[in-house]
Amino acid sequence: MKQIIIILSMLFAGQLVAQTKYETGMQKGLEQFAAVKSVEDMAAASAFFERIADAEKDKWLPYYYAAYANHLTGWMNPKADKDKVAEKSKDLLSKAEALERNAETYCMRQMIAIQQMTVDPMSRWQTYGTEAGNALAEARKIDAANPRIYLLDGQTLMNTPEAFGGGKAVAKKLFEKAVELFGSFKPASPIHPTWGKDQATQLLAACQ
């Protein structure tokens, strides 16, 4: 009897520990991510997520965050070679996509494409602008209630001239929708993406 209890509890505990290892690892990563103060910190956060991802092998989230953090280094460092950063972001993201393609991964595709477009917008909007637009269209097909889709779409439109259907007025509607959706948005787990609410609120205010 005693032995059975011990074995059972050990089995149970073992499983508990295994699960916690991933979750605590991710929690630790997200804390590290939230506390980032420099480009180096951001790159370290990306590398940490990448290590979790490589160890776990079947989880898309750590690859997603690794790609996201890496993507952000491209904006944080004004001197960064954005094409090079984007190549790495894409490499990480494609590993996430190999496990699961969802609205979040498509949103990330859009962000990476926009980053590459900004290198030389006049000659790149045709390729990267289209890539970005297609990615958001795919995201919308999968989960039209994801608030980040509207945040990203709004951001793009806010910086598009009015003559081409952009401008603050059009973007405002999208930010309103994003803020509304953020209000009711429930991530699938504590470690699923939740970012963007503050950004949407700020951008909405900037559109007023």
């Binding site: 509890s9 290198v119 000659s123 045709q126 793009t156 259907g165």
Partner: protein
């Protein structure tokens, strides 16, 4: 009681143990070290991890890393860095600090590898590193009027020749440069030729996703061009369906492009009508037009993706043109030369590229084109009636020529990927040229079965060193001669974004039909190219310097006998600088070409600098898009030193130079603007353009009277050309268009 408490205590200890297990497994052990590449250069940002765990670190800017791990015993430590091969190192983790120095070899990748670039300018988005001009640039180059060749003329190597169409590259004549679409030769890339006036190219820039302007040393896949190849790759499936229209005083056009819902296929067509009557009414032309230039153009396309990731594309253009112009006769000013031209051209191109699996790729091209010209040249009196003077040198200008040239061709290229990213490529082509001409009542026929076999390899020895080695075999049934042309180029990366290339190649071309109609007892003309260049590229800046030497053999002589006894050479240095970075929102490029060339060909009495070669040519192109007013302003300034001209007169058994000189320097400032807006539901672009804004006098050469007593300058039909038009399109997702710099 005791038993119970013992049990409880044990439970507690089990729980404590379970919780503490991961933490009690031992103290942390530090792992440190460094990461470098095979050349000893520091690699920052490499990720080091104890395999299977989360424990690891990142190498810092000095290449060092340090982290702690709980893992024990035999473990594998892995170092990864994008662009390098991953390295694994087995270690036994005990209690002492472990130090590992990683050396990561570079991975040979298309992204980082050097590209063989000697002699070629790549335009388009395909390869980021080599991009110099994008197809958008063709539309936004001031004064180029969306003509691909006009934009190519702003690149180093090309001459500013304004009296005839064609690209005159590095001392080569216009017919020594050939154009290719999706791998197959285009027989008549320009609108029908008019004496002393350059014609536009037939193809709209929007058709192409990339253009490579090769000024020499190009791939064994292309032949029959002594000096240059303009290689154009057509677009695949467009992003969206759209309807378009263009309106101006000169032209009216409409188009439709339909993309299937699954984006796997598309079809479309365009029609355009151009008539210069109204324009010539406002802007006076020097020749007197008795048949107003009038053009119909139509095109059709169909594109579909194959199941294996390939693509089938069909493209066809139809064009017809008609014009007639009179100029004063140079020998007798009381007479006029009346030139009438009617042209019909139909071009078809079917291409199929596909993956055959196992690293094999295939490119098939089929082409058929027909070009019919009816030329009627008359000597007329002041009443515009045809006259015969009894003086043969004047009456020679009374003639009719009807020509028809057909080209049917098939080309197959197979690619096999070798180890790494090296590729071997081989294939063949067969072309059947059928040229028929009726000069007055004299009929002539020139059929040619032309075959070629070629093979080449792109060898990437390291990321820093690449070679392209190839050879081409050709046989023409018309002249019944064969040739073998070797090609070789090497590229070496000298630093970040910097590389040096050298190229060598032999190029053969059969004589032009004009001469073959007289006799087919000809061999090939031959050019041997030696090129060396240095390029420094960053994403927004390109610097390039190139030096070349070209030797010509077997050039066509027309006097004293028709043969291949001509020869010559060309050497020069060219510079190119493009910068989108220094001035925000301003994109500009500068090109300069120095050319020193002489050749003995046609009726030249000795080696002379040909009339189509200037010693110094320079262009300055500038464009600025001002987002606030949605308008782009584009300026192009081109300069060339004077070109030589000769009056070659027959004197006894030879031609002598009766008169010679150099034309005045050439200046041309072109301007255009494009205003982007919307009209109703349509996305609209209003385009205005002027050539020769400063109204500089332009002289391209001189024509001489038969006796040499009179000479007349060859000038453009009008000093300036104006264009104002509106281009409309519907159905475009406008939000993606023209996203500006602010993002």
């Amino acid at each position: 009681m005791f038993a119970l408490s013992k049990q409880r205590a044990m439970k507690k200890s089990i729980i404590a143990l379970l919780i503490l297990v991961p933490f009690l497994a031992g103290a942390q052990v530090k792992i440190t070290g460094s990461v470098k590449d095979h050349k000893g250069r520091i690699l920052a940002g490499a990720n080091i991890v104890v395999k299977g765990s989360y424990d690891g670190g990142v190498s810092d800017s000095t290449g060092h890393f340090s982290f702690k791990t709980y893992e024990k015993g035999k473990q594998v430590v892995v170092a990864t860095n994008m662009g390098n091969k991953t390295v694994e190192q087995e270690v036994t983790i005990d209690t002492t600090i472990i130090s590992i120095d990683f050396v990561l070899k570079e991975e040979i990748s298309e992204l980082k590898a050097v590209t063989v670039t000697a002699g070629s300018f790549e335009a388009g988005d395909k390869k980021k590193a080599a991009t110099v001009l994008s197809s958008l640039d063709v539309y936004t180059t001031g004064g180029a009027n969306a003509d691909i060749s006009a934009v190519v003329k702003t690149l180093p190597g090309a001459q500013q020749v304004g009296e005839q169409e064609g690209l005159f590259v590095r001392g080569g004549a216009g017919y020594e440069a050939k154009q290719f679409i999706d791998g197959t030769l285009v027989n008549n890339p320009f609108l029908a030729s008019v004496p002393d006036i350059a014609s536009r190219g037939r193809f709209a820039p929007a058709l192409f996703k990339g253009t490579i302007f090769s000024t020499g040393g190009y791939s064994a896949l292309y032949g029959q061009a002594l000096s240059s190849a303009l290689i154009m790759e057509s677009i695949d499936i467009p992003d969206r369906s759209e309807v378009s229209a263009s309106i101006s005083a000169l032209l009216l056009g409409a188009g439709l492009q339909k993309v299937a819902k699954d984006k796997k296929s598309s079809w479309g067509g365009n029609y355009g009508y151009t008539n210069l009557a109204a324009y010539f009414g406002i802007v006076k032309q020097q020749p007197e037009y008795f048949r107003m230039p009038d053009f119909h153009t139509a095109d059709l396309n169909f594109r579909t993706k194959t199941k294996t990731g390939g693509m089938v594309k069909y493209y066809s253009t139809f064009g017809s043109s008609d014009l007639g112009l009179r100029r004063a006769n140079i020998d007798d000013p009381t007479l006029k030369n009346a030139f009438g031209l009617n042209n019909l051209n139909w071009y078809h191109n079917l291409s199929w590229r596909d993956n055959l699996g196992n690293g094999w790729k295939m490119n098939l091209g089929l082409g058929y084109s027909i070009d019919v010209n009816k030329i009627d040249q008359q000597i007329q009196n002041q009443q515009n009636q045809k006259v015969t003077t009894g003086q043969p040198w004047i009456d020679n200008s009374n003639f009719n020529i009807n020509t028809r040239s057909d080209l049917s061709q098939v080309k197959a290229v197979f690619d096999k990927r070798l180890s790494g990213i090296s590729v071997i490529r081989f294939g063949g082509e067969y072309m059947y040229f059928y040229n028929r001409s009726t000069f007055n009542n004299f009929k002539a026929l020139l059929p040619d079965h032309f075959k070629a076999l070629f093979s080449e390899a792109d060898l990437y020895i390291t990321n820093d060193l690449a070679a392209k080695v190839g050879a081409r075999f050709e046989h023409s049934s018309l002249i019944n001669k064969a040739n073998i042309a070797p090609r070789l180029s090497l590229a070496y990366k000298t630093g970040k974004g910097a590389q040096m290339s050298v190229a060598y190649g032999e190029f053969y071309q059969k004589p032009e039909n004009t001469y073959l109609y007289s006799t087919t007892n000809f061999g090939y003309s031959k050019a041997t190219h030696y090129i060396a260049n240095y390029i420094k590229n960053t994403t927004l800046q390109t610097f390039r310097i190139e030096a070349f030497y070209k030797k010509y053999d077997g050039l066509v002589k027309t006097y004293p006998v028709m043969n291949n006894a001509g020869a010559g050479d060309a050497k020069g240095i060219e510079l190119f600088w493009r910068d989108k970075k220094t001035f925000k929102g301003l994109d500009y490029w500068v090109s300069y070409s120095y050319l020193d060339t002489k050749r003995d060909f046609l009726n030249y009495p000795k080696e002379l600098q040909p009339t189509f070669a200037a010693n110094h040519t320079a262009s300055f192109v500038m464009k600025r898009f001002i987002s606030k007013i949605n308008t782009g302003f584009n300026f192009t300034y081109s300069y060339a030193t004077g070109r030589p001209y000769y009056n070659l007169q027959q004197s006894g058994a030879q031609f002598i130079i009766a008169d010679q000189g150099k034309t005045m320097d050439y200046h041309n400032l072109g301007f255009s603007f494009n205003y982007l807006t919307s009209l109703g539901k349509a996305y609209a672009v209003i385009v205005g353009s002027v050539t020769n804004v400063l109204n500089s006098k332009q002289v391209f050469g001189y024509n001489y009277s038969y006796n040499g007593a009179r000479k007349e300058a060859i000038t453009p039909p009008a000093p300036q050309f104006f264009f104002l038009g509106v281009f409309l399109s519907w159905g475009v997702d406008r939000r993606q268009d023209a996203i500006n710099n602010n993002l």
